[in-house]
Amino acid sequence: MPRGPHHRDAWVSPGSLGLGVWIITIVAAASTLLLALQPADRNPGLQMWTRARTHFNLYTPFTAEWNAHVPPTEHVTLHLLSDVALEQRMLAGFLTNTYTADLIELERRSVGRLFTGPADEIGFLDLTDRLHETGIFDRINQPSFSPWTSRGRIYGLPHDVHPVLLAYRADLVADAGINMNEIETWNDFERVLRPLIADLDGDGRPDRYLLNIWHTNMDMTECLILQAGGTFFDVQGRPTIATTINANVIARIVSWVCGPMRIAIDAPEFSAAGNQLRLEGAVIASLAPDWLCGVWKTDMPGLAGKVRLIPLPAWTPGGRRTSVWGGSMLGIARRSSDPEAAWRFAQQLYLDANLAEKLYREAGIITPATDLWNQPVYDEPDPYFGGQPVGRAYINAAPGVPLRTSSPYNMLAKARVQDAVYDLRSYAIAHDEFDPAVLAAEAQHLLEYAESAVQRQIQRNVFLREDAK
């Protein structure tokens, strides 16, 4: 194209305009045709959504076995979805009468939104009577029901207990000549391990720290608050956020993540970046629920033999040495085509002794069915953890797991508490004040603000008010 010094680029060249029109029109026609030719994608039988890769891998052979023994209408097809997708699709499906799977395995954080509306809009089958009739209710560790209970009714079969222990790098600790038996409380933890903080790459900044926790991680905050005996809601569902216990815990967390006494590092689980840090030895200890053991074995084979577990350090001498983190349930959609078959499958899947064994072997998760706890598998030495009988360690912790709320506003409370942690850290840095005893006063103040925010949302909800009448 000729272009003189003053000639400007022509923005529109009419000749070529037809090309785009034709390309798009042909693509439209061709893609419509191709989609019309696609076979219907819904498999016959029952569909199940799960959110965890480990569960998916574990259930796949079990489902194949099940499918071999039942008529095709009861065949189960598994689908792995992300947390966000599962929650969004489940809620939209329930609220709009559109498609959902028949069986949905659901994480605790997603359950609250099911319970914010009127009780007759809860899309899951009320399992309360079935649980009592079959005797399953009495077989399962009682705290495991609490997150799935709304207005006195149980909507899911509990999958787990998820006690929390402390995983630590035994190799690094041994090299430093440290004895972990000296640790009983978080104070001991800080004092005994502090010499391990180190600058690994020689750039003048420490990059190895003692504990994987961060002021942006609300799961960890909740875990530690529950361990300390704190709560977000009382049994009537009223917020109990601004308590001294909670204030002390978040003040302590803030003192860990910043300031001269920092011991914390941010190494997110389930992320390549976090795993890289763990493999490099930048993390000494981690809060380790039972499910994390399975995840680590799959994602970080390089840590095999280098890690061990001890009970969580307590907040006070003699205090609780475990907590609880995460949890799933299996629910049956009310509009399922065959709820009875789904219920049969659900019982098999969650209460089968063989699968419970596999669940432990492959995912590290201990069953909530207390009558299965005496199985020998839980006493086997685990080479990944240097020969420790890991299952027994978690089962010993299981009865001490704290109770949890089923408030539909728990996620909101967690988020507002996390805002308080974040703001407290900013406050600490701005005032150059990192003593947890001093920070606790400001923490109390921030938690009161968080509590009022949660209270305001609860009071807005007309549906819960109606049901309470």
């Binding site: 022509a10 060249s13 785009g20 798009i24 693509v27 696609q38 390549a272």
Partner: protein
């Protein structure tokens, strides 16, 4: 002096180009690295091979896994379908509507034009919640039509075509056609469409692009994974495959490549289309 200025200009332009191209380069490199080599360097892993690169640590497996594990081609097909079909439907509806508003006298013309002008300032986000409820009432949630129909009649589209028709279609031509006995539909396709061709091309391209990149609407309307376009599918991959950076980046590359290629072939029309709103601004 002028020469020095030119040199400085080139240096500045080159620097800006490099900054802008870095994320693209990163994307390409990341989609080729094996998981083991991912953190060894920001771009390609260094080694003893040609150009100092460890070629043996590169792999195409992420791309093959897109097909074998995730059946990503279905999402690609969905995206092509949504974007191309919407582009054709919206262009047809807007061209006909805009032509009628510009070139006919009829009862209700003033009201309709006022409605269109009024809707120009309404942000799409206001319509999100009520349209969702409407689709529920119509039973169109989780359907292809539920995604396409609400987007098929954009006010700015009919506005652009009304402007284009009034300025480029002489009345005399229409009258001549009518005197010759041509039917209205024939007049439209034989006379009006060719004259509106620049606007048609530009509008089709921007409709295509905006649907391709649309996330919130298909995310709200669709539920079945088999109907997801790339934008929604990618967002969910990001959660499930948070450790599988290579796969995630390969999926992203596959998702943006078609529009980049379309843009390379039709660059001028694209820019004309995207800036067409500003001319009258």
């Amino acid at each position: 002096m002028a020469r020095l200025r030119l040199v400085i200009t080139y240096v500045a332009l080159a620097a800006c180009s490099i900054i802008i191209l870095i994320p693209f380069a990163y994307l390409v490199c990341a989609s080729l690295k094996t998981s083991a080599a991912f953190f060894s360097s920001p771009f390609l892993p260094p080694g003893d091979g040609w150009f100092g690169i460890a070629w043996d640590q590169l792999t195409l497996s992420h791309f093959t896994r897109l097909h074998s594990e995730l059946h990503f081609e279905r999402q690609l097909l969905n995206s092509l379908f949504f974007s191309a079909t919407l582009s054709v439907l919206a262009t047809l509806a807007c061209a006909m509507g805009g032509y009628a508003l510009a070139k006919f006298h009829f009862r209700g013309r003033v009201t309709l034009t006022a409605l269109v002008l009024g809707m120009l300032v309404v942000p799409g986000t206001l319509l999100l919640a009520p349209t969702y409820r409407l689709l529920y009432q119509l039973g169109l949630l989780d359907t292809y039509a539920g995604v396409l129909l609400p987007l098929a009649a954009p006010a700015f589209g009919v506005f652009l075509f009304r402007q284009a028709a009034s300025s480029t279609i002489p009345d005399a031509l229409l009258e001549a056609a009518r005197l010759d006995g041509a039917g209205e539909i024939r007049t439209f396709f034989a006379i009006v469409v060719p004259l509106l061709r620049p606007m048609i091309g530009a509008f089709m391209l921007i409709s295509f692009l905006s649907m391709w990149n649309n996330f919130i609407w298909p995310q709200v309307v669709l539920q079945s994974g088999a109907k997801y376009p790339l934008s929604v599918a990618i967002a969910q991959l990001k959660n499930v495959y948070s450790q599988d950076y290579g796969l995630l980046m390969a999926a992203t590359l596959v998702s943006i490549l078609p529009v980049l290629l379309l843009f390379l072939t039709l660059q001028r029309d694209f820019i004309a289309g995207l800036t067409s709103g500003a001319v009258k601004g």
